[in-house]
Symmetry: C2
Subunit: 218 residues, 2 copies
């Protein structure tokens, strides 16, 4: 974000006011703060400070701390669901498609740890914010039907067994990655090994792919 010198204007202050940019900075800072400390632990003052925006702007754009949280959460869900859709699993063989989904889910959680913490925080509050979101429901439906169609194609091709509930499968794919990562701190103590070392992370992904493949195998 370097300001390129403009020969015409000696001191160029392009866009001193930019509602969209300010909003974006607030959302970005809020995502980090909420992920780090939870809804209750996050501080509005700190969010505004890190966003280099006045606290008043948060209330101007999002109404309240909870309104801000809801927007952050909604965006997080839309982000992951959008990324999933881009995988284009319909063009792959069923087995390949499923493995790719397991791999993607793991990588996404790994690269976006805020997502996990936001979801945890939302569940602590009994999903009161997500309940209000219509967008999320629409995206979720597409997501479930994506896995459903992989399963169906696999059964038709004779590589997957019949009768698997796509929702249970979905939950399981998420679970084996999510749990490992969200509990990486207590887990590293309980199991007395560094769960986040490079090899540990590779091993876990391999184990997860294996788990899912065995689950759907005939």
């Amino acid at each position: 974000m370097t300001t390129v010198a403009d020969p015409a204007a000696p001191v160029s202050k392009p866009r001193v006011r930019d509602a969209e940019a300010t909003k974006a900075r607030i959302l970005d800072a809020a995502k980090k703060e909420f992920a780090k400390n939870g809804l209750g632990g996050a501080r509005v003052d700190l969010i505004s400070e890190k966003a280099k925006a006045n606290k008043r702007m948060i209330y101007h754009y999002f109404g309240s701390k909870e309104g801000l949280f809801q927007t952050v959460l909604e965006n997080a869900y839309v982000d992951i669901r959008t990324a999933e859709q881009k995988l284009n699993l319909d063009h792959l063989e069923p087995k390949q498609a499923l493995e790719r989904l397991v791999r993607f889910t793991w990588d996404y959680y790994l690269k976006n740890p805020e997502f996990i913490t936001l979801v945890n925080s939302e569940n602590l509050h009994r999903a009161k914010h997500l309940k209000k979101s219509e967008v999320v429901k629409v995206y979720s439906r597409k997501f479930v039907s994506m896995v459903e169609s992989i399963l169906q194609r696999g059964v038709a091709a004779g590589v997957f067994r019949a009768g698997i509930d796509p929702v249970q499968l979905n939950i399981t794919i998420a679970a084996i990655g999510y749990y490992y990562l969200t509990n990486r701190f207590t887990g590293s103590i309980v199991f007395e090994r560094d769960l986040m070392s490079k090899t540990a992370i590779e091993d876990r992904l391999a184990f997860n792919i294996d788990t899912i493949m065995r689950l759907v195998a005939c």
Copy 2:
């Protein structure tokens, strides 16, 4: 808690002072509050009120809010690890033993939802409290070796395949139950079904047992 009339003493106040009972009441109230609102969201005043103890007592016995949290968390881990040891899995056939463990883990999470929330809260704080606990490490070792011996017996009996990492298996058994339950609120929205209905809970347990059995099968 009705005070039964004592003919000898007009107003009987037996055991006005009882350190152990007060401590226990505080711990019980704290467990509920921490589980409900997390470490940051829990209120010390409310804990003391619900424990019918003076707030001063919390600082007297536990030093600080975080000291109280640490004790609550430690107790929660000791509780589940103790219950696991009581399962006496060594006396069962490997397959039966493993199924029993999956079932137990699920039931325990279901009946003790505070455990999950406490662990979540602790991971939000990067396990800084659990790190200090030596007791938990000792109990954890016993727990891992329990699953290890089931696996070994199963391999020897020719019912389980060889080469499975007991830690990975342990994590997976926990994951498929834990994730489902901790995310039951957002999950019920995303998947548009009540994940906590009686049949849903039964179905999930059956699915989990199946998942683990397929994972270890030859």
